[in-house]
């Protein structure tokens, strides 16, 4: 049930392998990775600001809820902050449970919640200047889905 907030890159392969390898308690492991995208080919870099202290607390709370609701055997959340380039990995989640449905659902829940409930803010830098990434209403709507299921 680990949460890591860091500015240095992480090795997705190493993390996923270490998470899944040698497990006998869980039949299913799901991983998700978020990558800095540059759809228009104009992005120079992205800078992610966060709220030290609250970030770890919020991620831990989200992780605890996922663990309880989907009876997870284990989970991992890694989220970077600081400067990232197109193609860099921003974050990853991994979930382990007895069966795949719980592992998939818990991973989706973790993603939905950390998008709009963990204190991170993305700023994009292009040749034209910088802009804060606006939150999307569909990200907020995604949370209602999980509330209804409670």
């Amino acid at each position: 049930m680990a949460v890591r907030v860091q500015d240095e890159p992480f090795d997705f392969g190493v993390e996923a392998e270490a998470f899944a390898r040698g497990r006998t308690d869980a039949g299913a492991v799901v991983t998700f990775t978020g990558i800095v995208r540059d759809t228009d080919g104009t992005l120079d870099r992205m800078v992610i600001e966060h709220y030290p202290g609250m970030t770890e607390r919020a991620l831990q709370a989200i992780n605890d809820e996922a663990t309880e609701r989907w009876a997870l055997k284990d989970s991992l959340v890694i989220h970077r902050h600081g400067e990232l380039r197109p193609g860099d990995m921003i974050m990853m989640v991994a979930t382990a449970s007895a069966h795949r449905v719980n592992a998939f659902e818990a991973a989706e829940f973790l993603m939905d919640y950390l998008k709009s409930r963990a204190p991170f803010w993305k700023q994009e830098f292009t040749a034209d200047g910088s802009a804060w990434v606006a939150s999307k209403t569909e990200d907020e709507d995604a949370l209602t889905r999980w509330e209804k299921q409670k």
């Binding site: 978020g34 992610i48 600001e49 709220y51 202290g53 609250m54 607390r57 919020a58 989220h79 921003i90 974050m91 993603m111 950390l114 998008k115 709009s116 409930r117 963990a118 204190p119 991170f120 803010w121 993305k122 700023q123 804060w132 990434v133 606006a134 939150s135 907020e140």
Partner: protein
């Protein structure tokens, strides 16, 4: 004294990431009104609080929340993690 923190474009508009505020405000709303009356940059940053989020002692909460006995209040735009 209470620590007031600003993040993302709220920090940019106010011009500082953190300050200590001496206040008699008992709720976040009252604190916002006090800050707005200080200077134009605060009035600008807090002109539409529906575009903002607030955390008291690192817990996301409402603007109507109490800040009595709080150590830290943070203002920021909706979060964009993931």
């Amino acid at each position: 004294m209470i620590d007031v923190l600003y993040f993302a474009w709220v920090r940019e508009r106010i011009g500082i990431p953190k300050e200590q505020v001496s206040t008699n405000a008992t709720t976040v709303d009252e604190l916002v009104e006090e800050l707005k009356s200080r200077e134009e940059r605060y009035a600008l940053a807090f002109s539409d609080v529906s575009a903002l989020r607030v955390a008291v002692d690192q817990e996301l909460t409402e603007f109507s929340a109490s800040i009595e006995n709080a150590r830290e209040v943070a203002f920021f735009p909706p979060m964009t993690g993931g």
